[in-house]
């Protein structure tokens, strides 16, 4: 027969398990940074900005390289850059919808200024989408 104490103990363990699960769930949520835009400059993370509020992020490096990324609720694009070829401007917009169809995927790259803007998304629904 169950004793009252046993029942309480089981409930306690279940609660502890639930708490542990919640902590881990929230942690993974954080590390995945869903809907975040990660900006790299010269190989280092420059900043991370969530999608949402419409805003322009200025990336100013010590060597004078300057890029401006426009971010809104759907995605982002390179608004301006002081690089010589302006290819990053021509790479268009990255959104949560269109990235599987872009050859650069979740990235906008400015090679001369060594800037890489990346949309952090959860693993694609379709496992057959290419990695590169």
């Amino acid at each position: 027969m169950f004793k009252k104490k046993d029942f309480l103990l089981i409930m306690l363990v279940l609660l502890a398990a639930l708490a542990l699960f919640l902590v881990q769930y929230l942690n993974t949520k954080n590390t995945q940074s869903l809907g975040m835009v990660r900006i790299w400059a010269d190989g280092k993370i420059y900043t991370e900005v969530p999608l949402g509020k419409e805003q322009d992020i200025r990336i100013l490096q010590e060597n004078g390289c300057e890029n401006v990324v426009h971010i809104d609720a759907d995605g982002f694009y390179m608004l301006s850059a002081n690089c010589h070829n302006q290819l990053c401007i021509g790479q268009g917009e990255v959104t949560g919808e269109n990235y599987p169809l872009r050859s650069l995927g979740t990235h906008i790259l400015c090679l001369p200024n060594r800037v890489d803007v990346e949309l952090l998304v959860e693993k694609a629904e379709n496992p057959d989408l290419p990695d590169i």
Binding site: V13, A17, P100, S103, D128
Partner: protein
């Protein structure tokens, strides 16, 4: 009761802790090497261990980049620039890595059918390089004069001394057709012990290692669609997707480095016999294990008429090719059907 309780406890704890053991995909874009952008990704247990692999990778990449750099010199480094500027005077001692690459090129170039990839035609290629920078065709007489100094047999490799000597002092090496593929092989050797499940792309020169650790059985590697050719499948600008492990994929095409004069396109892959860009194909992708060979073959097949290329690639075991012909039609060797999205292959 106690036993049931401990069993429950273990079960619950196990369930809670299982998800955190899964390995995750990390990726990094690296600038400043091989005149292109390097994409690197892999499955490992933490950002820290991925960063550690990246550091070793970058270290090796910097070394290889400097070694194969034909435009700059580095203190104390007998790199390609140094060889090109001094091997005409006296034999130059070089690192094993550079010597090994030159030896591999020499061996392949001697093989009947493989002659068209000639890393000793630097004189011709630099005329075309300058022409593309200036946007004007190279001078015909200058090209003719340059072809007098492209005889690979004038590059003397001394195996024992590991030296390079130019018996023709005007000859110049250009490793553009092979350096990235060879570098990919060296980089693979650095990474694979530490993080076997990885993929690296040196500007389209791809090596995919062991299977991804997310339940898929293969990596998906897309092939870019040349302009004016109808993209297939997923839409966007992909020509096809190949699902592979432990495999190199290298593409040579007319659509990345080129200039246009009077509406005619002049790209960067030059036929040593005509000194002009080859026009048999729009693009060719080679799939085989070895990155150096894949790189060499992609240039070679681009320089050959389509039928000759097919015959040649079919004579090599475990190698396949995807062709985009001059008229835009797309074909591939039969052995690639099993790994191509367009023929029903999947990553699962």
């Amino acid at each position: 009761m106690k036993r049931l309780f401990s069993f429950l406890l273990v079960l619950i704890l196990a369930t809670v802790h299982l998800p955190c053991q899964a390995e995750e995909k990390y990726s990094k874009t690296i600038f400043g090497y091989f005149d292109t952008v390097v994409s690197f990704m892999g499955y490992t247990d933490s950002q820290e261990s991925f960063d550690a692999v990246c550091e070793e990778l970058t270290h090796e990449m910097k070394y290889l980049h400097q070694l194969f750099d034909g435009y700059n010199s580095y203190p104390g480094q007998h790199n390609l620039w140094y060889v090109n500027h001094h091997a005409g005077e006296a034999p130059v001692k070089v690192d094993d890595v550079l010597f090994d690459l030159l030896q591999k090129c020499q061996a392949l170039q001697k093989t009947p059918g493989y002659e068209k990839v000639n890393v000793a035609m630097g004189t011709v290629l630099s005329l075309w390089h300058n022409a593309r920078e200036e946007g004007a065709l190279p001078d015909r007489t200058a090209l003719q004069a340059a072809t007098q100094h492209t005889d690979f047999s004038k590059i003397i490799l001394n195996e024992e001394e590991k030296t390079v000597f130019f018996a023709d002092p005007k000859i110049r090496l250009d490793l553009g057709a092979v350096a990235k593929g060879y570098a990919a092989d060296r980089l693979k050797a650095v990474v694979e012990d530490k993080m076997p499940s990885f993929l690296i792309s040196l500007g389209g020169n791809v090596y995919a290692g062991d299977a991804p650790l997310d339940g898929r059985k293969k990596w998906g590697v897309s092939v870019q669609c040349p302009d004016g050719v109808t993209p297939i499948q997923f839409g966007g600008d992909m020509l096809d997707v190949f699902y592979v492990n432990r495999m190199s994929l290298v593409t040579s095409g007319d659509y990345q480095r080129y200039m246009e004069i009077d509406g005619k396109r002049y790209h960067h892959i030059i036929d040593p016999d005509t000194c002009m860009p080859a026009n048999h194909l729009r693009a060719v992708t080679i799939v085989c294990e070895n990155g150096f060979l894949a790189d060499y073959l992609s240039t070679l097949l681009f320089l050959l008429p389509y039928e000759e290329g097919v015959t040649l690639i079919e004579s090599i075991p475990d190698a396949g090719a995807l062709f985009v012909l001059a008229d835009g039609s797309v074909t591939m060797t039969e052995n690639l059907h099993a790994i191509a999205y367009s023929h029903g292959a999947t990553a699962r």
